[in-house]
């Protein structure tokens, strides 16, 4: 099995590493911060991140340095950084590991990012159910204040920073960056129409950067080891490593940090230990619940932003869900739609109304009451949602439908023709929505 140097999971895999400030400092922690505060201008930090090729790990893969450079330089008044620790994408559990085991790696990244964009206040917006994580981050922040690595005049520089932990209240949509901002502001977590973008009109309408936990955790390493080092890992346009969360009937489900650009085959067969005894791979969700399904034919697609996009899906949140041939694809899609329907915030028409409509049709098909016209209608409705909504949730909720209809249409037809689910013939489903 090929092995690779780990960047983000490295510290925590050392025996006895607790994630405390002193442990983190022993591994060279906060040297990157010291380095920038002692002599790298903010613009230079941004340039360094740009040159490293680092791209967002939260979903959309937007180049991080470029995002930072959108923050107006001479804006009077406050600017903010929000670390997106809402990790709610089904099948994704890598931020949690970073938060619980090495919080200072993320916090150092936050601090450097704030220095670079000129923010004096940062929020860590953490998923409500991550109580342990929230406690750990708060503990780490307390340590930093005590060590005078947060607050006023950090390390004797003129740089001031406060970091606050803000716990979510359980809505998936609050991971979407503008809903996240609304939620911090104390409003209902519902996305805003973009433009304007957070870079100019973010938290409290002030310039704001939102970055994912993993994205920010990479920052200290790039400062310490240089952008060229980072850019040399992975592929030309997808640099560095990524942590993939592998789940499903594989022998070793879990988080794996690998350079971007290895194949799904390598990930599943080598790192995750292959399919469990007697199971055959049928489908892969390559990047969290919002990504289009792959099939066994996609095993040789490379796990980098471009290759996955070219093959019709996305790397998304890094959640790789593997399904075997005993899994009903209609049931799997229905399962996801139950989730999306439950989590649609209801602000915009196509998603609010469409999610319930799609769900009803899928329930009928899975429950044996499907009609032939349903498939065309599923497609039409999906196309009427795709690209028409305020936030990317709309695209996400139709991705499983459109991709399973494309790759596994026969299974849908079998449900309709046989008037029951071929995998669960005796299933009884409640039809009414909600």
């Amino acid at each position: 099995m090929p092995t690779y140097e780990k960047i983000l999971l490295k510290n925590m895999e050392q025996p006895g590493y607790t994630g405390s400030l002193s442990d983190y400092r022993k591994t060279g922690g906060y040297m990157a911060l010291e380095k920038v505060l002692k002599g790298i201008a903010p613009a230079e930090v941004i340039d360094t991140i740009k040159r490293s090729g680092l791209r967002g790990r939260g979903g959309a893969g937007f180049p991080t340095g470029v995002k930072w450079s959108f923050i107006p330089k001479d804006h009077p008044g406050p600017k903010y950084l929000c670390c997106n620790a809402d990790e709610s994408e089904p099948g994704t559990f890598k931020d949690r590991q970073l938060i619980e085991n090495d919080p200072h790696q993320m916090l150092e990244g936050i601090t450097i990012a704030c220095y670079a964009i000129g923010a004096q206040t940062a929020y860590v917006y953490i998923r409500g159910e991550f109580f342990l994580g929230a406690k750990i981050i708060q503990g780490a922040i307390d340590e930093l204040y005590q060590a005078q690595l947060l607050g006023k005049k950090i390390l004797g520089s003129n740089f001031n920073l406060d970091i606050y932990v803000h716990r979510g209240a359980g809505a998936y949509i609050c991971g979407e960056e503008t809903a996240l901002l609304e939620s911090i502001e104390g409003k209902r977590g519902k996305p805003r129409t973009k433009p304007p973008f957070p870079a100019t009109h973010g938290l409290y309408q002030k310039p704001t950067v939102v970055n994912n936990v993993e994205t920010l955790s990479n920052v200290p390493h790039i400062i310490n080891r240089g952008p060229e080092w980072f850019a040399a890992i992975g592929t030309a346009k997808s640099t560095g490593t990524r942590i993939f969360s592998v789940s499903g009937p594989v022998n070793r489900p879990g988080n794996y940090e690998v350079p971007l650009g290895i194949t799904f085959r390598e990930m599943i067969e080598e790192h995750a230990g292959g399919m469990k005894e007697g199971k055959r791979l049928k489908a892969i969700i390559p990047g969290g619940a919002s990504a289009s399904f792959f099939t066994s034919e996609h095993l040789d697609v490379k796990m980098d932003f471009e290759s996955v996009a070219a093959a019709g899906s996305m790397l998304g949140s890094g959640g790789v869900t593997v399904m075997d041939d005993e899994t009903c694809m209609v049931a799997a899609t229905l399962n996801l739609l139950e989730f999306f329907h439950h989590e649609s915030c209801g602000k915009c028409t196509p998603c609010r109304e469409g999610s319930a409509w799609l769900l009803q049709i899928l329930r009928r098909i899975e429950g044996g009451e499907g009609r032939r016209e349903d498939l065309a209608q599923l497609e039409q409705l999906s196309h009427r949602i795709e690209g028409m909504t305020i936030c990317a949730f709309g695209d996400a909720e139709v991705a499983p439908i459109l991709s399973t209809l494309k790759h596994f249409r026969a299974e849908y037809e079998a449900h309709i023709d046989e008037k029951h689910c071929p995998f669960r013939p005796n299933l009884a489903l409640a039809m009414a929505v909600p």
Binding site: G346, C348, E353, R384, G387, I390
Partner: protein
């Protein structure tokens, strides 16, 4: 156009102002884009996705309501892609819709119907089970039918952004999103009806007109609301001779399409079953209906007989607040020129004359600013803590200035800063609120003058002489005294003076606390000095606005009997030509006036009841022209049924000085007649016909009779003369230094849902506040051991009037130690309150007093 931007819309080259939204630009190109959530009054939310367009170089379709035009943009709304997307959104919106249009009050004026007609195929594609919400009610007047809701949030945004009541929010999420009150609390609603009006569909409808009409059956007549002096344009919607509802049009009128509870739900009095429909004569307490012919003949001959016997000065006249300019003019003409008496007065005497005469004395005009100046001001100094209640639309302008334009509001009043149900209680949104002791506005004004005079430097506008005079005049007034009386320290006054004078454009708004309370005229003159010293009057964007509750408040500036003094302060009084309101009553009492003609006014209610009733008994003749059998009408010999404002033509001049058309929406109820028609008949019977062919002729003559507006030079020299007059300031009687312990300060005033008596005939408004209660702060109530709804006893230390009983209601808006009695239920209370008249303007003051409260012993 200051910054034109050129773009192409559906192939047409257009040019619009920079910053224009595409949905507005489309109109320039002749295209109306379908939309639900967009509303020009509100910040865009872009949630319905109906207004999408295709923009070159942008891969996704864009919402035109949230996209600002850019130079060279190429936009299309007529492509197949856009059409398919519009079909899609419509299909989503119609999917769960109950299609109950035949029984929906919005049917016929519904955006969903209109756009469905144009943007969706005739056959629906929804084959699933529909979502069903149960019908609910927001309070007594608003019906909520969420199955029809398109979740556009216009209602929520209107209530937040325009009214500031924050009564609504979206509840739950996803496909079961609905509109509701927050966390199932009772609605903090101000019943402005705005959410009903702005809802594009029939999800929110008025229960006051439920199922009464189909929108295409109503006749619409634009007219002016009579509930206060804000001058709101409203549309009366009528079927035959019944007013079905009132509404307003976006952006139109001085109210720009906003209304308040009284405007939206207060029309019920017009068709009230107790309206007088035929002339009545009352003899020995017995009422008898008579014909108009008979009544007019009797009125004319009785007038002539009394004139013959006692001379014309034995006849007096009073005209009320709801008469139009034309009618007031004609009434004066009838009384002065035909009957020949100078003793005529109008409802302006209840307080508006204080503002008008003082402002005229200082500036030679009362029109010193416009509502636009409120919105554009960077500072608003308000002596009207109850503006949301008394002049709600003016308050909306203040809220707009504060919320949208970040203006600072300084509120000086005797209310609590805290709010209760009214989130838009102005003191609550003030950046600086001076909670003064009740009735001490005048003292605070002098304090501000003293500070500004001590700091002012001479300038072309402020002569050294004037500043010196003001300094001297305030010398003997100490800040200690001011603080002892008003509760406001020198430091706080200094801060207010600094901010007021330092603002680039400041407006000063005064309400009834000044114009209708003791020392009102002098306080208004001092207001003029205050604004002059601060340099915040007679300047672009600044000024003084006096609020009034009379729809024609700006149209009858000096009442019927007086003319303002021409210039200056030395004779700051007025040239009295005839007796004023209270003097007329006094003359009646003395037997000097034998006949009284009262049109649309009810002195029995608004002046000390017993005194007026006793006086009326001495009259040989009392003629009362009214909508209802009021206390005054009941005391009359002849009662003439009057037409309401909905039944006549004319003009009202608002407090801003805007003369606006009142239009006839329905025929007069019964045989009632507009006031002007009655006056004409009487004149004719007295063999002195006016000869007017129409209301418009009266208007023309009245306009000609007005002195021309002063020119700029005239105004400047007038102000100079005003400044040159000597000054003498006397600290007004300290309202709070009474000495008797445990007294409450009581004020009578208007509420959000009631203004005087008329509103109590409007069923809609009665549903909002069913009980007539006295308001008290919860802590005071607790101290006295009384609970909401309990009846208390009110007694008067300064009189011998006995005591009265009334139930209480709790309100955090009231300061500790103060009480508030709504005017519509104040007649009994007023009997015990001290009564005086202004030494100069003779305005009656009887709305304030100190009272004692005690628990009513319950018999066991």
């Amino acid at each position: 156009m200051n910054h034109p931007v050129r773009l192409t819309f559906n192939g047409k080259e257009i040019e619009v102002e920079k910053g224009t939204l595409l949905i507005e630009a489309a109109k320039v190109a002749g295209a109306e884009l379908p939309h639900f959530c967009y509303h020009p009054k509100l910040k865009y939310d872009a949630n319905c996705r109906m207004c999408i367009v295709e923009i070159e170089k942008m891969p996704k379709l864009q919402t035109s309501c949230s996209t600002v035009v850019a130079e060279g943009m190429v936009v299309r709304s007529n492509t197949d892609r856009v059409k398919e997307a519009q079909n899609g959104v419509m299909a989503f919106l119609l999917g769960n819709h109950p299609l109950d249009c035949p029984e929906c009050d919005q049917g016929g004026e519904c955006q969903l119907q209109d756009f469905a007609h144009r943007y969706s195929p005739t056959v629906g594609s929804f084959g699933e089970t529909k979502r069903v919400f149960e019908k609910e009610y927001f309070g007594p007047l608003i019906e909520k039918e969420m199955n029809r809701c398109v979740s556009c949030l216009r209602c929520v945004r209107y209530c937040d952004e325009v009214i500031g009541a924050n009564a609504l929010g979206s509840m739950d999420r996803g496909s079961v999103t609905e509109i509701g009150g927050f966390a199932h609390h009772p609605l903090d609603c101000e019943f402005c009806g705005g959410c009903i009006q702005i809802c594009p569909v029939g999800a929110l409808t008025s229960r006051a007109s439920m199922y009464d009409y189909r929108p295409w059956q109503v006749k619409k007549t634009d007219t002016i609301c009579t509930y206060c002096g804000d001058g709101c344009l409203m549309t009366m919607e009528t079927i035959d001779d019944k007013v079905i509802r009132t509404s307003s049009k976006l952006g139109v009128g001085r109210n720009e399409g906003d209304l308040c509870a009284k405007g939206f739900f207060g029309y019920g009095f017009i068709n009230h079953q107790e309206r007088l429909t035929r002339p009545i004569i009352i003899q020995n307490g017995k009422m008898q209906q008579v014909t108009w012919e008979w009544a007019i003949k009797k009125a004319a001959s009785d007038f002539m007989a009394i004139k013959e016997k006692y001379g014309p000065e034995a006849i007096g006249g009073i005209i009320g607040a709801h008469s139009t300019n034309e009618e007031t003019y004609l009434f004066y003409k009838l009384m002065r020129d035909i009957i020949g008496t100078p003793h005529v007065d109008s409802a302006a005497r209840y307080g508006d004359v204080n503002a008008h005469q003082a402002l005229n004395a200082a500036f030679s005009t009362t029109c010193l600013m416009r509502y636009e100046d409120i919105v554009g001001a960077d500072l608003i100094l308000s002596f009207a803590g109850d503006m949301t209640e008394t002049n709600p639309i003016c308050a909306i302008k203040v809220k707009e200035a504060v919320r949208k334009n970040k203006a600072k509001l300084i509120a000086i009043d005797a209310f609590n800063t805290q709010r209760d149900t009214y989130k838009s209680h102005l003191p609550h949104i003030a950046s600086l609120h001076l909670q003064i002791k009740m009735g001490t506005e005048g003292v605070v004004i002098l304090g501000l003058i003293k500070i500004l005079a001590s700091q002012a430097t001479p300038s072309p506008v402020l002569s050294a002489d004037y500043i010196q005079r003001m300094k001297q005049a305030t010398e003997s007034i100490s800040f200690e005294m001011i603080e002892a009386i008003s509760g406001i320290s020198k430091a706080t006054l200094g801060e207010v003076a600094k901010r007021y004078a330092g603002a680039s454009k400041a407006v000063l708004i005064v309400g009834s606390a000044i114009t209708r309370n003791s020392n009102g005229y002098q306080n208004m003159l001092n207001i003029a000095d205050l604004a002059l010293l601060a340099g915040q009057v007679a300047k672009e964007g600044a000024g003084i606005l006096a609020l009034t509750d009379c729809p024609n408040g700006g149209g009858d500036p000096s009442g019927g009997s007086e003319r303002p003094a021409p210039v200056g302060r030395e004779n700051a009084g007025v040239v009295t030509r005839g007796k004023t309101l209270v003097e007329i009553i006094d003359a009646v009492e003395r037997g000097e006036i034998k006949a009284l003609y009262i049109v649309g006014d009810n002195p029995v209610r608004s002046l000390p009841q017993k005194r007026v009733e006793a006086a009326f008994k001495k009259l040989d003749l009392l003629i009362c022209q009214e909508l209802f059998m009021t206390e005054t009408a009941a005391a009359a010999d002849i009662v003439l049924p009057a037409a309401s404002f909905a039944e006549k033509e004319g003009h009202y001049t608002s407090q801003e000085g805007e003369a606006q058309k009142v239009r006839k929406a329905i025929d007069p109820i019964g045989t009632s007649k507009p006031d002007w028609a009655v006056f004409s008949l009487i004149a004719e019977k007295m063999n002195a016909p006016f000869g007017f062919k129409s209301v418009n002729d009266i208007w023309k003559e009245r306009v000609l009779s007005l002195p021309p507006a002063p020119t700029l030079e005239e105004m400047v020299s007038h102000i100079d003369a005003f400044c040159a007059a000597p000054r003498q300031f006397i600290l007004p009687f300290a309202a709070s230094s009474n000495g008797i312990k445990d007294l409450f300060h009581l004020q009578v005033g208007k509420t959000l849902s009631h203004a005087g008596k008329m509103s109590t005939y409007a069923d809609g408004l009665n549903l909002i506040t069913p009980n007539q209660s006295i308001l008290i702060h919860p802590d005071d109530a607790e101290r006295l051991g009384i609970v909401a709804g309990e009846t208390i006893e009110i007694s008067f230390p300064n009189g011998d009037t006995g005591s009265i009983q009334m139930p209480i209601a709790l309100s955090n808006r009231l300061a500790l130690g103060t009480l508030f009695v709504p005017e519509h239920c104040s007649m009994e209370i007023k009997r015990g309150l001290p009564f005086e008249t202004d030494p100069v303007t003779h305005v009656p003051y009887g709305n304030y007093g100190q009272v004692r409260l005690s628990k009513v012993a319950v018999a066991v």
